[in-house]
Every structure is written in structure tokens, then in C-alpha cells.
């Protein structure tokens, strides 16, 4: 039997999967016990999703992982300790739950490339996590960075007025922004693109504003390359 050949066993006369006699080599084959109409679409969808996962190329997978990592980084404290892997995993789960009209699932329209589907799901999930996050928890001192972009140790609380609840979080975000910009101190074009992104400019606006029409793609590659290296690859 070819293990890569996907199969479903229909066993409508049994009450549950445990009762269906099967040789050991067939124990992992999904069973269709219930003739009601929702089991079969789920099993078929699952097979298609699993085939799509196996068909992903190494570069597809690396792009997905890095995109997931940046999405989680965009959440800041709202990430609540979640990682890019958690986001990918959640996107995959919701895809499997989304074989039809759903409350939580995200149906994969087969006209759409599976990588684009997962990235869309991740975008939606990370927005949802952000919305759900209640920004009222106290900040821990251990969450504060203790080194600046030059590696100098410092306390970000030194200049913060006491009782100013938003100020410490403001420092964390400003610090991360400064760290990213400091990475490109010697690259004015990259700094311009990053400033454009921070200011919410579109690609066309950045190209026109800074005269980077021809260089834009190359500058973006430099940014991704250096930040990727700074993060030590997908699993840092």
C-alpha cells in the first residue's frame, strides 16, 4: 500500500471508530462512520490541506515562518508570549476547522495559493489577538531592555515621571523603533524606506517622496537581509 495515497474508509454500520475492525496498517486511515453530511467534507478538506502542506517548498516554508515572526513582533505586548510558530499553528488549525461556513474556521478557497491563504489567516488572527489584548496589566521590570542600540547598559525608567502608566510602554516601543533604525545608520536609503513604513506611506509614496523608484526593491531586500541576520534566522 502506498502510504502517500490518501484514503477514507466508510463504515456506516458501526457506532464508533473503535468498533471498526482494521489491520494495524490501516489504523491511521480516517473513518467515515456518520452518514450525516458534515463528516465527508471535513475529511476531504483535511486531505487537501495535508497535501498542500507536503507540497510547500522550503522557500515557501521559510517565507511563512519569517512572515509569522514579524506578525507576532508587530503585536508587542499583545503577543502575550506567543511565537511565530504559535501563529502558524493557529492559522493551520483554523483552516482545518474551516471546511464550510464556520464560526471560527477559515475556509481555504482552492483558487488561492495555500501560502497566501495561510498568510491571510495569520494577518486576521494577529489582528484578533491584538483586539483581544487588554492593555491594563502592569509591566514587569524584566520586560524592559537593558541595553541600547550601541550595547550600552541603561535604565529606560530613569526619565519617566512616576505614575505615568503609558510612559513605560511608550519607551519599549520607541526603543524597538530606535533599535531597528540604528541597524541601518550607514544606509540612508534603508532608513528612508523604514521611516516611510513607520509613517504609514505606501510603496508608491515612498518611491516618489525619496526618489527611490529604481532602488526600492533592492533596498527592501537589504532591510530584510540585515533584520533576518539580526534575528538569527527564523528560530533566532
Amino acid at each position: 500500500m502506498n502510504p502517500s495515497q490518501k484514503m477514507i474508509i466508510a463504515a456506516f454500520d458501526y457506532q464508533n471508530a473503535g468498533q471498526v475492525p482494521r489491520p494495524p496498517e490501516l489504523m491511521n486511515i480516517p473513518l467515515l462512520i456518520d452518514s450525516r453530511n458534515f463528516q465527508l467534507p471535513r475529511l476531504l478538506e483535511k486531505i487537501e490541506v495535508e497535501r498542500a502542506i507536503e507540497a510547500l517548498t522550503p522557500s515557501d516554508l521559510l517565507r511563512l515562518q519569517r512572515s509569522a515572526d514579524y506578525r507576532v513582533q508587530s503585536l508587542g505586548r499583545a503577543a502575550c508570549g506567543r511565537t511565530g510558530e504559535d501563529l502558524l499553528s493557529e492559522a493551520q488549525l483554523r483552516t482545518l476547522m474551516g471546511a464550510g461556513a464556520t464560526r471560527e474556521g477559515r475556509h481555504w478557497n482552492k483558487q488561492v495559493d495555500f501560502v497566501w491563504h495561510l498568510t491571510g489567516a495569520m494577518r486576521s488572527i494577529s489582528s484578533c489577538w491584538k483586539r483581544q489584548f487588554k492593555d491594563i496589566e502592569p509591566y514587569l521590570i524584566s520586560e524592559f531592555p537593558t541595553h541600547d542600540a550601541q550595547g550600552q547598559e541603561r535604565s529606560p525608567l530613569d526619565n519617566v515621571a512616576s505614575g505615568d502608566a503609558a510612559a513605560d510602554q511608550l519607551l519599549i516601543e520607541k526603543d524597538e523603533e530606535d533599535r531597528v533604525l540604528a541597524t541601518f545608520n550607514d544606509d540612508p536609503e534603508a532608513t528612508q524606506v523604514l521611516q516611510g513604513w513607520l509613517d504609514g506611506l505606501t510603496k508608491d509614496e515612498i518611491m516618489s517622496e525619496y526618489g527611490l523608484r529604481k532602488q526600492y526593491a533592492a533596498v527592501v531586500r537589504r532591510i530584510l537581509k540585515l533584520l533576518g541576520r539580526r534575528n538569527g534566522g527564523s528560530r533566532g
Binding site: 464508533n16 473503535g18 452518514s35 458534515f38 495535508e50 522557500s59 519569517r66 471560527e104 523603533e177 527564523s234
Partner: protein, 132 residues
């Protein structure tokens, strides 16, 4: 008030930056993403397979829940999972008993796991009768 506005502003700026990075990385060519991963000191093939494993494991976690419930005669509609505080929740379409599972750990809970579906016998009997 000013500080709250600044905070929101910085929050949004950083979010925009990371969003653009997340989108831009998808536009990298195969050669570029493989080369960058290598240059970052990681093995691209190994990294890629780790990510594939993450996707497979998510499928496996959901499979385990469905298989466990199916072994007990419960029938859950995969489309009816909904997200609650402690993970995803669903109910057996036959007996109505509750089940939940945590996506991160795969841990399952709920009365549906306490024993076989009490209604599955009756439903199977009706199915056999109908097929005659």
C-alpha cells in the same frame, strides 16, 4: 492625554513597520530567502522542515481530538469549533456533550471524554433500520 496619544502613535508605527516586513518577506525570491537563512547561520532545509512540522502537528492535534471523540461514538462537526477562554469548544452533535481542547498543548477536556456517547446506539440503530 498627550502620553496616551504618543503611546498609540508609537504602537501603530511599530505595528506598521512589522506588518510591512511581514508582507515584504513574502515577495522575496526563492534564492534570496534560502541565501538569507544560510547567511543568518541557519540551515534552510532544516528550518523549512521545522516549519512543516509545526503545520503537521497542528493537524495532528485536531486529528487526535476527532479520533478520540469518534472512538467514543461522539460526532463533532468540525465547522462548529468556536474559540473560548480555555481553547476551542464544541459539542457532540448526537448527545450534546461538551468538549474543549487547547491548541497550544493539545490538551482535551469536557464531559464528552467521560465515556461513550449515550445516543450513538440509538442513532446507529436508526441508520441500520433506514438502510434496510
Amino acid at each position: 492625554m498627550k502620553n496616551m496619544a504618543d503611546k498609540k502613535n508609537h504602537d501603530e508605527r511599530l505595528e506598521r513597520l512589522m506588518d510591512r516586513l511581514a508582507e515584504s518577506v513574502l515577495g522575496l525570491s526563492d534564492e534570496a530567502i534560502l541565501a538569507e537563512t544560510s547567511e543568518a547561520g541557519a540551515d534552510p532545509q532544516r528550518e523549512a522542515e521545522c516549519t512543516r512540522l509545526v503545520l503537521r502537528q497542528a493537524s495532528k492535534a485536531l486529528d487526535n481530538v476527532h479520533k478520540h471523540l469518534s472512538d467514543l461514538g461522539h460526532t463533532v462537526n468540525s465547522n462548529d469549533w468556536y474559540r473560548g477562554h480555555s481553547g476551542y469548544h464544541n459539542t457532540c452533535a448526537t448527545c450534546g456533550s461538551f468538549v474543549s481542547f487547547a491548541a497550544a498543548t493539545g490538551e482535551m477536556r469536557g464531559e464528552a471524554l467521560d465515556g461513550p456517547c449515550p445516543e450513538s446506539d440509538r442513532y446507529a440503530y436508526r441508520r441500520r433500520e433506514a438502510s434496510r
